[in-house]
Amino acid sequence: MNLNIQVSELENPWEKFPSWAKFFFDVGYQWKPSDTNQIAIISVPQKCAASGFVALGLLSKELEGHLKSDQSSHFEHLYNESIDFLELCAKCIIKSKCDPSSQRCGRTEKAKEKFKKVDSNRVYDLLSVNTEGIKVCYKSKATKNKPIDSLPSEIIMPINAHKWHFYLEPPIKIQKSKNLNEKFYNSLVSSTERINLDNLCQSNSSIAYVGTNKKMTSILLNSIFFRLNDEEKSLAELLTIENTQIKRVLSFYSSTSKAERTGGRPKVAVFESISAFKLSVHKLLNFVDKILIVDLQESDTKIQELHDQISTLKQWYEVDNNKTGYLRKITPCKGISSLFLKEC
């Protein structure tokens, strides 16, 4: 880690990367995937952006080395959503408000039907899906009353899928530019490693950040600022959860029980709080590694809920004594305690 990078918490004076933040960053940065699922539970004595630092550690590791992005599964993802829209949502009898739980259609929200091209502002409508690809058309004000068949259409295929994305969602790939915060990430990773610039231009869903609600997460992640050579960035910006064109983290909120955007299946999920951990049963987060931050300021009821939830895992998980022991040994202060579980 570059020693020039400075951190400020809650508008306090700038200081070197604090020991507690380094601990949580390292938990993410040194996270090793395994064949079986793993769960880490770490307590913090008061509300802080520990979960953000863990996610930043995971993200920094992900940005190193070979190309990692959602591009390979992107077409499949667009295709599946389109099929779901045509088969389920378009035929749904309830038009006013989407309610998958009462319809029992197997979805968690309405499937997407509007597409956008990376270098254009036009919004395209879904027409049909066939073996060739996804057929979409553009309706302008002048042509909106014309029959659909007569409108100009385009076909999204595996070969050109990277140029397309769902409307109101981030593109899968953007051009290289100066605003990708490359030097911040490079200053965070170990001195022998470099960030792969191609990774910075790609959207990625392999890391999930699960917050309680959007407002709380925003407050928490914007409580931390980094400074490097007079340039300042918030933790939220570096995690690409806010104010960025590309999204390198897939964010979920337990208040809405769904992901902020569609994407691939994550490999690791960081849960900001016990309330957020309720979303660990979400179909995208069910079989992934989980890192949970437990704020000791939570009420006793919430702590008991977590205790009960983890008790149910006893038959499938066991304690990883080596990792638990190591994390407890390097704990920066009292109040931070760790437990590392692995599937047995």
Partner: protein
């Protein structure tokens, strides 16, 4: 977080406990426990519960007025009635307790004197007292005597929100045991996240602390997986002092025939829980409480909020633990239903057919046949009749898919012949009939939700429009009612000031959402 770590390194944490011993009071407590046991045995639970709460009050507040134990209980006003109802032994026990209470009155309570002495010592420090809101009057009286000119308003913490919002301070004072359950419980969070340098506790001898409060919950989770015993969360520099009262010991010996256990809460609450549904309690200043099941949504008015939204007015009962403050009011809605029309099953081609066949069948014979096909439902004949009735908001049919398939198998011959359903097509036909039922249920469910949402939105708009009027009434801190005569909703809203929320209750279903006196609620505490 950095500030927290710095403070932790500089100051360390101290825990000082003053354990108080007074044989007279000990005897009063034991006798009262015995009286409670007698009253419970003769099935006078209300009096027993009332006495129990009075006893708890003396244990958890530095009161000098121990007469309170027998106060407000009509039975103890008349010795004649006591003797006639419960016999000489009961009356003797009462007399023993009374004698000791008189002695205590003469010398004064040791808890009261130690507490006053300590407040005098620390009056220049920044200290806080954590107590239940209903106990506050007792502390205020005491503080008015010891530090008459101090601003006592900021000295009290009553719940998690108060504690979370307070800036770091020097000393936290607690009277009674440290545990997150039972009468006058204290959230473990106060121990898990210290904002103070010293935790000062005054406790009667025998009162037990919950050791789990001093352990990191993550370590406790580790113990589920047989990880080594958890160490204390922080390094507390502990000092325990014993203080004995100067009141001469009582002359009588009663201890051998009375329960030995000193801890009242554990002795009196053992095996006394009456219920099965985990619940949260909302307590009001009229000495009443309401219990809600976990996850129940309730309407709340918070006069601190400037803008109102659905998420602020309607929240889950368990979330109240985080939200509660002195400006919170519980709203009871007594309203005329919102008319949003009815939902009806419009087209049901499959149900029309199987219901038509069902209505023509002899229900007795059909029930017998279905039982042989393993449809073991109670009152099957009545149910068969119910399923054949004309549909209204939903298609009348068995609740479970497998039961429905058995029913259609029982009607297979008639259905096939009357409506020409081919043998191979029958299973598919059954599935389509079931999906028709599912759809109708989904639609009815959605209709219910929409109705609820419309009510909530109307309520929010009405409350927002009369915000100033409501806040004026809230300022008085008392229960009040509001008549609503808007176009959308009509009725009466009752606002009850919430003084506390507590978890860990087990309740019978019929007691949920019912206003009940505190002593009745206490029986449901886990």
């Amino acid at each position: 977080m950095t500030e927290f770590i710095k403070a932790q390194k500089v100051q360390g944490l101290r825990y000082e406990c003053v354990e108080l011993e007074c044989e007279s009071f000990s005897l009063v407590r034991r006798v009262t426990r015995k009286l409670i046991t007698v009253l419970q045995e003769v099935e006078q639970p209300d009096i027993a519960d009332h006495l129990k709460i009075n006893l708890f009050k003396t244990l958890y507040t530095p009161t000098n007025n121990w007469d309170e134990i027998f106060e407000d209980i009509p039975l103890f006003d008349s010795e004649f009635r006591m003797k006639r109802t419960h016999g000489d032994e009961f009356l003797d026990l009462y007399h023993h307790a009374r004698d000791e209470l008189d002695a205590v009155k003469q010398y004064g309570s040791i808890l009261y004197s130690e507490f006053c002495k300590y407040i005098n010592e620390i009056c220049n420090f920044d200290f806080r007292i954590f107590c239940h809101r209903r106990e506050r009057d007792c502390y205020e009286e005491l503080l008015a005597e010891v530090i008459p000119y101090a601003d006592t308003e900021r000295l009290f913490l009553h719940n998690l929100t108060d504690y979370r919002n307070s800036a770091p301070f020097d000393i936290l004072i607690r009277v009674g045991s440290i545990r997150s359950f039972g009468w006058s419980a204290i959230p473990n969070m106060l121990i898990r996240t210290p904002k103070y340098k010293l935790l000062k506790q005054f406790v009667w001898k025998g009162g037990l602390n919950d050791e789990g409060a001093f352990v990191n919950p993550v370590d406790l989770i580790g113990s589920i997986f047989s990880l080594e015993p958890a160490l204390p969360l922080y390094d507390w520099y502990t000092k325990i002092t014993n203080v004995t009262s100067s009141i001469p010991p009582p002359e009588i010996e009663l201890s051998t025939e009375l329960p030995e256990l000193e801890d009242e809460l554990i002795a009196l609450n053992r095996g006394n829980i009456k219920g099965s549904i985990p619940a949260i309690s909302l307590e009001f200043d009229c000495h009443r409480a309401v219990l809600f099941r976990l996850g129940a949504e309730i309407h709340i008015w918070n006069s601190r909020e400037i803008i109102f939204s659905k998420s602020l007015i309607k929240i889950k009962a368990e979330e109240l633990e985080n939200e509660i403050n002195e400006n919170c009011y519980f709203i009871v809605t007594d309203m005329k239903n919102v008319d949003v029309g009815d939902v009806n099953v419009e087209i049901s081609p499959f149900a029309d057919k199987w219901q038509q066949v069902l209505s023509m069948k002899d229900t007795y014979a059909l029930a017998k046949r279905l039982k042989s096909l393993n449809l073991n439902l109670k009152n099957l004949e009545d149910r068969l009749w119910g399923w054949s009735l004309p549909n209204d908001s939903v298609i009348h049919a068995p609740q479970r898919k497998e039961h429905f398939f058995i029913l259609l198998n029982g009607l297979k011959n008639e259905l096939s012949s009357r409506f020409s359903i081919a043998e191979l097509e029958f299973t598919k036909w059954c599935k389509l009939a079931w999906s028709e039922i599912s759809r109708s249920r989904g639609r009815a469910n959605l209709h219910g939700k929409v109705k609820k949402e419309i009510f909530d939105e109307s309520l929010i708009s009405v409350l927002s429009s009369r915000k100033d009027e409501i806040n004026d009434k809230c300022a008085l801190g008392q229960m009040f009612r509001l008549r609503i005569t808007s176009q959308e909703i009509k009725g009466i809203l009752s606002f009850y000031p919430i003084i506390a929320t507590e978890s860990n209750f087990l309740v019978p279903e019929n007691k949920l959402e019912e206003f009940m006196p505190l002593h009745v609620r206490e029986n449901m505490r886990l």
